[in-house]
Symmetry: C2
Subunit: 635 residues, 2 copies
């Protein structure tokens, strides 16, 4: 049985001959990221074979000489020899991200939030007085409890889980029969979740969860007062298995890996729940409801559903409206008998995060004015409509805006270049970094800043080519590629300059073109253009750091009045909160989901035309961006 | 940390100082039975301390010299020393019991069994054709499945557990959309349990379970044809923790022991399910429903409910009508999403085994004639009634009829004396044993045989005293006790004679008096006597080997015409079978349970009078047993 040693950790593991290096590393507890999901297409899982024989596949992104030096992709290399030593390069970690854990309710217009009189959470607490046991009345403890509930509620059927039955005898005998019942109601039944001795009505909690491809946020809510106690955010533990949903779906092709993805996302969610609960002295079993909103793939992976068919024509997921599930069944570590509600999805690429997000906008109200909702993330999701119709579509922006798939790209974390100013004369960039430390890379908002500056100052043309004519210390051609150096090696926090290639720029242009053209197509379908819109809502973590003027310059967002734009933060999380505290909002969300028409962009031939047109800065048709034209002319 | 060595197995274990010897033995995997539940009252857990210091409590049943020889009760002895060596005597095992695994339906009158047109099991299978996925129809797999079900069933709500959601995508894509759904219905909903590809309607199974204090029986049922495939029976794995329900309740006083009792009974049930399923090539997940009938204590222990309050005034159990529970929640290893139904109980000592058993009798039919149902086991349960009323009560017969609490008593297992004939002249017994091997002890039916024979031949008087006047080789007085030797040492299969003491006889008389007087009291309450009864149904494993004539002689059963008696076997199991195959029977059983009035004997002062009157052979009032009087006079 071959034995593999991983350096520098010196962790070793025995595996069967023919095992994938990546699997072996995982078993040994060594993390090797596979951003593309293990398809061999991203080249990020390079490792160096120090000794021993392996069977590797050759891939385009590795230069031919790599193999001779023992550099291989861990996801496509199998162990042959009895003894293999593998050097794993330092991980560019996902640690230290810049998360906003503040209450973001202020980002949402007040009248859109549930009002006091709409507070009506699914899980409710009741204080009851249950008479003591009596000889000869033939009533069990549960019979007496049922009667006490029915005295309040009428002859409704009551459903008890085993855990409540188990706790009943002691609870009824502890404080003279005073007990607090937690339950949920549906049309004909009361479902008990918990029984506690005495009066615990003031301790009543729920959570709202946003499960993003990249980021997961958990919000702890005090149901008694419908107020948010705290929010905890972290990267999705699935990131090492692929950066976007397609990579994750590819990674999940093997059942053990599908299971691994489930475990990873649950681990992240449960860790955040624990942190949030502990910070407020709340026990997990006191949390008796959860609302979870995620894109369709995230929901499938969380539930252990095979995501494969989301990716394959005709793109049919297993489920849109997940029925209520027990916390215990889902693996969410709150009270095991809690009901978990998943925000409904509309299509394979328009998920529960969008139906939750729309609740934070005027699209959820009966107005005549036309509104647009854009959630910019690894996927871009767009909803257009008013009281008469709702259309939704999704486009793949790729992870470029999140700093991935870009040579020196990184997340909006410590050391990321986030603001850039380019000198029109010298072409040299001045910049600031998150945390004001030495730069380690450039994040999404930094890249948009940079491109806008380069374009306005003329160092970048509309086709995304760097200026090779004017002399510039920052523009260099190495081999076949031309680069712009943002941070020279001397100022860099890593051992090399931070630069961006024309290939990177192409990636960003493709990403912005995907989103802009999806919006255009949708408006066209409705016989409108951007000027017909009353409001444009921008959601998603990336939007937080976005400079709208710069986004306009590169053509990511349309050239309309600034006042029409509204940044609404993590709308998926905020919408989840609304559904937690108000069943009216839950029903409203379900109705919105049913009303939304899902447009499959890939099946619309016009999309390609719109997309190609948008592959310029700001657009092939500059008249669409008059203010950018004006700005260019002024300089 | 003290270390204990158990002989002869030489198993050792480290325990904390002060640990109970019995707990230590359990941890070490050494079984020491505590028939009384660890209260120190039965004296069956004696062990010998070979070396080391222990702290033991002195109990009446151990002679004073025992302690000096190191003989102690494992349940009341704590370890003090660093090193203790304990000799554990050979277990009189509960192995090799004589169980009837045959189909006993023939014991129940044909018209009482569910008829073909009443077959309507809770769990049903359906073959469905589900259309394939289509681009742009906005339907998930689950949506299409729901529509296919609703096309048959109308707009009913369908509830899916996570396991079914997980299997749906593959099932729908496997055999051109042909799938088989297993589900249960309630008033407004269809609850899916399982989805399988293709047509599996012919493979559809359920189980019926009787959970007795002593014996557990599992029946595998083919739901397609409502026929019984097989029955598997074994002793309840809880026996080492106490022989009767009170001992078990005492044993369960500590939470870890309550959990242990749950594990033990589940282990027995699940082992029997496995045996039954394997013998017919059935997979556990193909078993999609179970009906479980047990006495109130057994049901509580199986569900992990604290049984304490069953024993304490006002004798109020946690639950009579257990709601439907998931197999996964209960720990029964069939399909985890199956619904498990528990036969309802009526009182702390009249359980689901009785409401199931009554289904096998005329008491469940709308007749005018008065009927009596007696389930003779460790507890005796009695139901009296007709179409107008049903009364139920329970008395503690103790384990004597099952061969326990009797010096040479044993179960109806290999080597048990089961038939006895006593020579009127010499007083010497001739006997036969189960399996025709050398006798090891005497079982319940053997004891009744023996007592009846001794009484009729005059070697025993009505007060239960052995004849000390006439010379008899078999009657011996040792110390203060007088014994009757059934099997001399030379013929015995153990190293000592098999005999019965006057104390044993007293036990038996008490047991029969408890049952007879409970019946009398109940008839009195209804203003009747035994002659008013049309039928007397005897249920329970013990009844199988019972010689009715002999039972009459000792006054266990009333002196009425033989034709009125009907032995109906394991009625609890048969009733469970009926409920499995017919929801009509389930509803009927629930109605019977609600109609039954529970009489608490211990609170009725007249019970003591009736009981005292029955403490003679056959009774203080011999006119109640004219045929016995006649028999005596003839000899």
């Amino acid at each position: 049985m071959p034995v593999i040693e991983f350096l520098p950790s010196k962790k070793t593991i025995h595996v069967a001959a023919g095992a994938l290096l990546h699997d072996a590393a995982r078993k040994a507890g060594v993390e090797i990221d596979v951003p593309c999901g293990g398809k061999g297409t991203c080249g990020k899982c390079v490792v160096k074979i120090k000794s021993g024989q392996v069977d590797t596949e050759s891939f385009g992104m590795l230069p031919p000489e790599a193999a001779t030096e023992g550099i291989v992709l861990a996801c496509r290399t199998r162990v042959l020899d009895e003894c293999v030593v593998v050097e794993v390069p330092d991980r560019k970690g996902y640690e230290g991200g810049k998360f906003s854990d503040e209450d973001e309710t202020y980002l949402v217009r007040g009248e859109l939030l549930p009002q006091k009189w709409q507070y009506d959470p699914l899980a409710v607490k009741w204080l009851l007085q249950v008479p003591g046991p009596k000889l000869g009345d033939g009533l069990s403890d549960l019979d007496r409890l049922t009667r006490a509930i029915q005295q309040w509620w009428g002859k409704i059927e009551i459903v008890y889980p085993l855990s409540v039955i188990r706790d009943t005898a002691e609870a009824l005998r502890s404080e003279d029969g005073q007990v607090t019942i937690t339950f949920v109601r549906d049309q004909e039944r009361v479902h008990a979740i918990r029984i506690e001795k005495g009066d615990t009505t003031l301790r009543h909690f729920a959570i709202a969860v946003d499960v993003g491809t990249t980021t997961i946020a958990v919000q702890l809510i005090n149901l008694g007062q419908a107020n948010i106690l705290c929010t905890r955010t972290d990267y999705n533990g699935q990131i090492p298995c692929g950066l976007d949903v397609i990579s994750r779906i590819n990674y999940a092709a093997r059942p053990d890996r599908q299971q691994e993805l489930r475990t990873r996302v649950l681990d992240t969610i449960n860790k955040l729940i624990k942190q949030a609960a502990e910070s407020h002295g709340v026990q997990p079993e006191e949390i008796c409801n959860a609302v979870i909103s995620g894109n369709t793939t995230m929901t499938h992976l969380l539930l252990g559903l095979k995501p494969e068919y989301i990716r394959l024509d005709p793109y049919t997921p297993t489920v849109h409206e997940v029925p209520y599930l027990n916390a215990a069944d889902t693996g969410i570590t709150i009270n095991p008998d809690s009901w978990i509600y998943f925000s409904p999805s509309v299509g394979s690429y328009v998920g529960g995060d969008i139906t939750a997000g729309v609740l934070c906008t005027d699209l959820s109200t009966p107005i005549d004015e036309m509104n647009l909702f854009i959630d910019i993330g690894t996927n871009g999701e767009i909803v257009l409509g008013n009281k008469d119709f709702l259309m939704a579509c999704a486009c793949s922006a790729g992870p470029a805006f999140e700093g991935s798939g870009i040579e020196c790209g990184m997340r909006a974390a410590l050391g990321a270049v986030e603001k850039v100013k380019v000198d029109p004369i010298t072409g040299i960039a001045s910049y600031s970094t998150i945390g004001d430390v030495r730069p380690k890379g450039i994040c999404g908002s930094g890249i948009i800043d940079l491109l806008a500056e380069l374009f306005i100052t003329g160092w970048l043309d509309s086709a995304g080519k760097l200026n090779r004519v004017r002399e510039c210390a920052c523009i260099k051609t190495i081999g076949k590629r031309t680069y712009y150096i943002i941070v020279p090696e001397t100022q860099s926090g890593i051992d090399k300059p931070i630069m961006i290639s024309e290939l990177d720029i192409e990636n960003i242009i493709r990403a912005k073109a995907a989103i802009y053209s999806a919006c255009t197509l949708m408006l066209n379908q409705a016989g409108m253009d951007f000027n017909d819109l009353a409001h444009i809502y921008i959601a998603g973590g990336f939007g937080r750091f976005l400079d709208l003027e710069k986004a306009k310059i590169i053509g990511l967002v349309p050239d309309v009045a600034k006042e029409k734009f509204h940044y609404i933060g993590n709308a998926s999380l905020m919408g989840s909160y609304m559904v937690v505290v108000s069943q009216e909002y839950k029903e409203h969300q379900q109705e919105l989901a049913r009303r939304m028409t899902y447009m499959e962009l890939s099946s619309d031939p016009a999309y390609m035309d719109h997309y190609t047109g948008a592959l310029f800065l700001p657009h092939t048709d500059p008249s669409r961006f008059p203010s950018v034209l004006h700005m260019k002319q002024r300089l």
